[in-house]
Amino acid sequence: MNPTVPALQATFGDAIGRVGGARDGLSVAVVAAGRLRDVMRWLKDTPEQRYNYLVDLTAVEYRDRERPLEVVYQLRALERKLDLRVKVELDPQGELAVDSVTPLWAGANWLEREVYDMFGVVFAGHPDLRRILMWETYAEGYPLRKDFPLRGRFSRSEQVRQALNTSPEANYSLEELSIAEAFDELPPDMRERLRRGERARIAESE
C-alpha cells in the first residue's frame, strides 16, 4: 500500500472513501467530488507527497448500471518513484460535474476536454472546455456513454449531411492556428469566420 493513502485518510477524513489496491498493484483512493481540488492540491504541493506528474486522466462507465461513473486520475511522484490512482465517483443519471485540475497540472487541459467530449463530464474551472475529438457542432451526444448506440443516434445520411456542413477551418480557435500571426493576410471570408467564431453552418433539413 502506498504510504500516501493513510496520510490522505488522516488529513481529509470523510472526504476519502474506498481505498485499496487495484489488480495491477497500484493504490487507489476514491475522493468525494466536492473535495477533489483540495485533495489534488495537497497531493501536488505537500513536500512529503510531491505528485508532480499527472500521467493520465480518463473516465470509466461500467456496464452495470448500478455502478457509478468514475473519473480516474493517474498520478506519479517523479522524485519518489511512487504512483497513485485517484478516483471520483459520479452518478451517471445525475449531473456529471467535477472540479478541473488544469490549474494544478496544465497537461490536464486536453485530457479533460477529451473526457468531456466522450462522457459529458463538465469540469468546473476549465479554461477552454470544448469538444476535442468530435467537431464542435456534434449533436449526437457523448459517444463513450453506455446509452450511446454504436452507430450514433442519427441516420447515416444525416450524419454525412452534418459532417459536410462543418467548416474545416472552424474546428480550431484562432489561438490554436499557427497562422494566427498571418491573420491579416487571410482571405476576407476566412477572417470573418474566424472573427465571429462561427463553427459551422447547417442548413435546415426537411
Binding site: 468530435m134 467537431w135 449526437e140 459517444p143 453506455k146 446509452d147 450511446f148 448506440p149 454504436l150 452507430r151 450514433g152 441516420s155 447515416r156 445520411s157 444525416e158 450524419q159 454525412v160 449531411r161 452534418q162 459532417a163 459536410l164 456542413n165 462543418t166 467548416s167 474545416p168 474546428n171 442548413a203 433539413s205
Partner: protein
C-alpha cells in the same frame, strides 16, 4: 494506333488511313490523360503505408506515368483515398475534390475507404462514395501494391473509354445539392447499411 482507330485501306494503298476526327481527338486526349495521371494521395491510415510501398522503387508507380505525387489538389488528376475516413475529415476530402481541376478521378483504396470496413461506428464515413464520386474501388485490408496497381490500370482502361464528345458520359462536377449532399439521403442510408460481420450488431445499444 491500329487497334484504337477504325482504319480503312483504300485501293490497297498503305499510305493513308481514314477515321473520324472525334476518334482521333479522343484517342490522343485519352492516351495523354491515362498515361500521365498525377495522383493526389489522401492517406489516412495503414493503406497509406501500402500506397508508399507502391510508389517506392520495388513496385514503382512511376512506370504508369504517376511519377509526380501532387500534394496539392490544384495540380492533381486522381484522388487516391488510402485509409478510413472519419466524419470529421468528410468536409476536408470534399473540399480537396472540389479544388481539383477537371477532368478528375477518384480511387477508393481499401475496405475502409470503400465501405467503412471494420469501423461500422458513429465516427466513420461508410464509404467515401457518399461524399465524392468514386471510379475504382480497390478491395483489401490493406490491398497489396499489386492490387492498387491493378486498380490504377483499370482506371487507365476506364479513361481510355471516355469520350470528349459524348455529352451523356462527360464527367459532371457533381456538386452538392441544397442539403449539402451528393446523393439522395435514402441512397446514402442504403449504401451505409451494415456490411459483413457487423449485420449481427444492433443499431440501438
Amino acid at each position: 494506333m491500329k487497334h484504337v482507330l477504325e482504319t480503312k485501306e483504300v485501293s490497297g494503298s498503305p499510305n493513308f488511313h481514314l477515321t473520324r476526327l472525334e476518334k482521333l481527338i479522343d484517342w490522343a486526349v485519352n492516351q495523354s490523360r491515362a498515361n500521365s495521371l498525377w495522383p493526389m494521395p489522401f492517406g489516412t491510415a495503414c493503406c497509406a503505408i501500402e500506397f508508399m510501398a507502391t510508389a517506392a522503387s520495388r513496385y514503382d508507380l512511376a512506370r504508369f506515368g504517376m511519377e509526380r505525387q501532387a500534394f496539392s489538389p490544384r495540380q492533381a488528376d486522381v484522388l487516391i483515398c488510402a485509409g478510413r475516413l472519419p466524419f470529421k475529415l468528410a468536409p476536408v476530402i470534399r473540399r480537396i475534390y472540389d479544388q481539383m481541376p477537371q477532368p478528375k478521378w477518384v480511387i477508393s483504396m481499401g475496405a475502409c475507404a470503400s465501405t467503412g470496413g471494420i469501423f461500422d461506428n458513429y465516427a466513420m464515413v461508410q464509404g467515401i462514395d457518399t461524399i465524392v464520386p468514386v471510379d475504382v474501388y480497390v478491395p483489401g485490408c490493406p490491398p497489396r501494391p499489386e492490387g492498387l496497381l491493378y486498380g490504377i490500370l483499370l482506371l487507365h482502361k476506364k479513361i481510355k473509354g471516355e469520350s470528349l464528345f459524348d455529352a451523356v458520359r462527360r464527367r459532371d462536377e457533381q456538386p452538392l445539392d441544397e442539403h449539402g449532399l451528393r446523393l439522395p439521403p435514402a441512397e446514402i442510408d442504403e449504401i451505409s447499411e451494415p456490411f459483413g460481420n457487423s449485420v449481427h450488431q444492433f443499431r440501438s445499444a
